[in-house]
Symmetry: C2
Subunit: 265 residues, 2 copies
């Protein structure tokens, strides 16, 4: 029998995927607190873990949710995992995306095919359209500038988001993530030149060339509330490439706060 294993990260994506799957095996890195029951595994014993998946009849794997890098304990490596460490370390030094890609390669080489979340749950990734509110022409220009910034940063493998207001870039996402970036933007919202002008846009998109089976940008009702708290006018993202969690709740939160939600073509 062919089974799917869910490698759960933190946040609400993993339980959403778990609910959509038929009796999945659920695992999580030992340093995470996933919101779904999961058996822990350690990166230092990745190769034995892959053997266990194969022994359980697993042929497909889906990664879902935010991952924090575990601290590595050199004493815990088994011999075979140790042999692949240089590849993963090299990836880590080149940035998040390269590190995750190296891990994916190891899964694929073990004969496990890695699915993207939208292969499991297509509704999670909205196509083009305005889901709440109505972005003005100037909001659209801010979204355009933010999209250029996120796309231009792509080869640097740093972040997947930016905040632009009235043509000015208030914040760029780095390792600390979207919430930290929005808190930063909130702190510096007084820099917008025109207090009565456009309030600014949070823009999210995957890095160009990013492996879409892992780490697609994710937004949800919390993102909407954080963007509202930062004084922004709305959220835009690359249609078909960003996970929207709890769509109805996110739309309700946006309508309540007067924010637009725009899956941009």
């Amino acid at each position: 029998m062919s089974r799917i294993a869910l490698i759960a990260g933190e946040g609400l994506l993993a339980p959403a995927i778990a609910a959509a799957l038929d009796e999945p095996l659920v695992y999580a890195l030992h340093n995470l607190n996933p919101q779904v029951p999961a058996q822990p595994f350690r990166l230092e014993r990745l190769v034995p873990f892959l053997d266990e998946l194969t022994d359980q009849g697993v042929t497909q794997v889906v990664f879902a949710g935010a991952i924090r890098r575990p601290r590595i304990e050199p004493d815990l490596f088994d011999q075979r995992t140790m042999a692949i460490v240089p590849r993963i370390l090299m990836g880590m030094q080149s940035g998040d995306d390269a590190a995750l890609r190296a891990v994916l390669d190891v899964f694929e080489e073990a004969g496990l095919s890695v699915l993207s979340v939208d292969q499991v749950l297509p509704d999670l990734v909205p196509g083009e359209g305005v889901l709440a509110g109505e972005p003005s022409a100037r909001d659209k220009k801010d979204a355009e500038r933010a999209a250029q910034i996120v796309q231009g940063m792509g080869p640097l493998d740093v972040g997947q988001g930016a905040v632009v207001a009235q043509g000015l870039c208030l914040a760029i996402e780095a390792l600390p993530g979207t919430q930290a970036m929005l808190e930063f933007a909130a702190l510096h919202s007084g820099l917008k030149p025109d207090p009565n002008g456009p309030k600014g846009v949070l823009y999210k998109a995957p890095k160009p060339g990013q492996d879409r089976r892992i780490d697609l940008p994710t937004i949800g009702p919390d993102t909407v509330r954080q963007a509202a708290a930062a004084g922004l006018g709305g959220i835009a993202w690359e249609a078909g490439s960003v996970i929207l969690l709890e769509r109805e709740a996110a739309i309700d939160a946006a309508n309540a706060a007067g924010l637009f939600l725009w899956a941009r073509p």
Copy 2:
């Protein structure tokens, strides 16, 4: 007689330049609080201001210090300045650098040549070398990664700095500036994977292709203290391209805090 006008911004650069010049005429945008006595001028009356400079016998201009964008009062424009507004507004919409370049062009077209601060005070811009402490091999790798990020962001015309620790990008500079970025990095310093590993590097460089007569990145003793407060191991920058204010005090502060200062080749 040929005179030099100093267009003063905020911070310690303007008084340093004023002290190096022989009886300069000093002006500042009306919304700034420069640390040197200055006559205010308004962007809405830029063309009459240029006439005034010419009438005073000014042939050279030097810009020194941080500028904040003034709020524009549409009622205050004179006819001739109004005619050049579209150029400057278009620049503003493309980012800081384009806006400043548009303003410089207007000065040059009025027959005023714009000097860079290192043409006035070459000692302000250190050439290659380690000025304090000693960056380790891993610090140098972090500086290399940060330099790639800052250089890669160049065409986006966003910021001139980044913080990298253990290969990970903790923060990228945007409109709020270096101090805000360092406060952000301090807030998220717990994300460094190895608490005993390299503490991280603040890297500063001009954007590639940046007009070096304005807005060269500037660091000084305050930057050193902010980097130390953020838990970083040192500051690196592009040799020959970054202004170091109060060199002795900056080196003393770095030595006191155990930070390296490295003008990187």
